[in-house]
Amino acid sequence: MQRHFQEVEHTADWAVRVRGRDLAELFAFAAQAMITLVTDSTQTEPFPVARRIELSAPDVETLLVDWLSELVYLHETGDVLFCVFEMEEVTSAHLRATVRGRPGIPMKKEIKAVTYHGLEVRRIRSGYEATIIFDV
């Protein structure tokens, strides 16, 4: 699978730079980056568990933190790892998506939280870019 993110040096935690042609791609790739952190390998079908997610936030950075935090919460409390992210609508203040996954996928790492540190969703020539730092 092609990687749409780049790991950035960070002394204590885990930082990734993600790019997408639009906000929907950026958000989906950010979630994929997080999944590669918590599991060892690329996950393949079947993904029998589906869940709808709908979020609103005052700005796009908060929406990005909310989106990833939602997944952290679902992973920890539901024992289901969501690996497929179907973004239906992503604006700077609103998100609708369906996520698909399955229980029992072993996680190698715990993400404590998604931070706001230095977080900025930037317009670049090819779309959008964000660097996200996870507390691990």
Binding site: A12, Y73, M107, K109, E110, K112, T115, H117
Partner: protein, 487 residues
Amino acid sequence: MTVHKQDFERIGPYVWQLPAGYRKDMRVPARLYADETLLRATLADRSLEQLVNTATMPGVVKYAMAMPDIHQGYGFPIGGVVATELPHGVISPGGVGYDINCGVRLLASALRREEVAPHLSDLANALYRNCPSGVGVRGSVQLQGNNLDKVLVEGSRWVLRKGWATREDLQHTEEGGRLAGADPAKLSDRARTRGRPQLGTLGAGNHFIEVDMVAEVFDQEAAAAFGLFEQQVVVQIHCGSRGLGHQVCSDYVRRFQKTVQKYGIDLPDRELVCAPWDSPEGQDYFAAMACAANYAFANRQVLVHHVRRSFEEALAGKGLPARALEIRQVYDITHNMAKVELHKVRGQRRKVCVHRKGATRAFGPGAEALPEDYRAVGQPVLVPGSMGTASYVLVGTEGAMDETFGSSCHGAGRTMSRKKAKKSVRGDSLRKELEAAGIRVRAGSTAGLAEESPAAYKDVSRVVEVVHQAGIARKVACLHPLAVIKG
């Protein structure tokens, strides 16, 4: 922004200061405790920029500080200490961090190393079996009904009532294992959901249980007060408030994004969001943080119960004297917390909110907050080193009370990213090296071992030497590892 060595004034042999004018938004100078080598290491990442950022917080007094184990975090640097003057100074969830009341607990057995040596593998196995560790793990205690709220308000007292702790355990815990001011109504449902199944779990990452021996005693008087002697087998537990604490911090960092606008607070980083201490938002966060702190105290206390069970399982009936199963708590310290304390500011004792982010309280002799049996010597300061290397027990000093709001270092401090560590160290090789050195390793994740390789950390002995020489803590004893248990 890149900070250079020449930007610092050298205040003392181990104290470096960036003047308040270094950046125009600073309200106070920024101080770093380090020797030349540690200062050079610190210049390599963005931790000093983060330290400068903390000097901009409303109400900050004297100077923003970093201990010699400083390294890059998010918002505050790890190793950061910032005090804000009350009632109007701010409290910052990002300044405490996601793992609220992450801390270290030291337990002491009455056994010498040679008595435990033949049974060390059994002991390591029992600890790994009895102390749940790793990602997504559930504890032996499920907090149904109002039991969660009781833990949030009572902390270790709840564990005592369950019969899994002793009164002495609580006396030898910072705040007696219960931080006042907790209000469970200030927690989200999500925080509660994450907290219910996880009490008595270690978690993953850099959290661990380690069986050590006291390798050297530097200060006989303090060691005697703490009940430590050379060759003694002791146990360290390092963990925090688990998913509940992570959720509390996430909830309030998000909420405070708006709060800073309401109070007209301008900050260089959104992770530093904060609220005036005396505002409804500031009080709400403190009440929620205290809940998470109490959960963490109780979490480590339940793990103590599991450690005692493990000693029994591994050592009972093995011909050891009856004292073999007496496991006494030396002390429990927190290193991610905001606390209201009295400290000298502008020549007078004033109420301040001390944020310690990867820093340890290090109260000196005579402090009222200390248990009676330690009051004459000062507070035990527990400084775990990186995996497989030395750890230290220090004691708080008058110097810390005068200079650092009664604070000192909390560990070795990372120098290498996890990415680099995984590239340069193989987890299975590291496991073999540790085993070859006689250290039993019980770990769920080999990759996790590599990330926590000693090569990724500063030399803890150098870090400790700085705080010792600077007079903000004093060396009491050095511990060497015998067995490591990790998720």
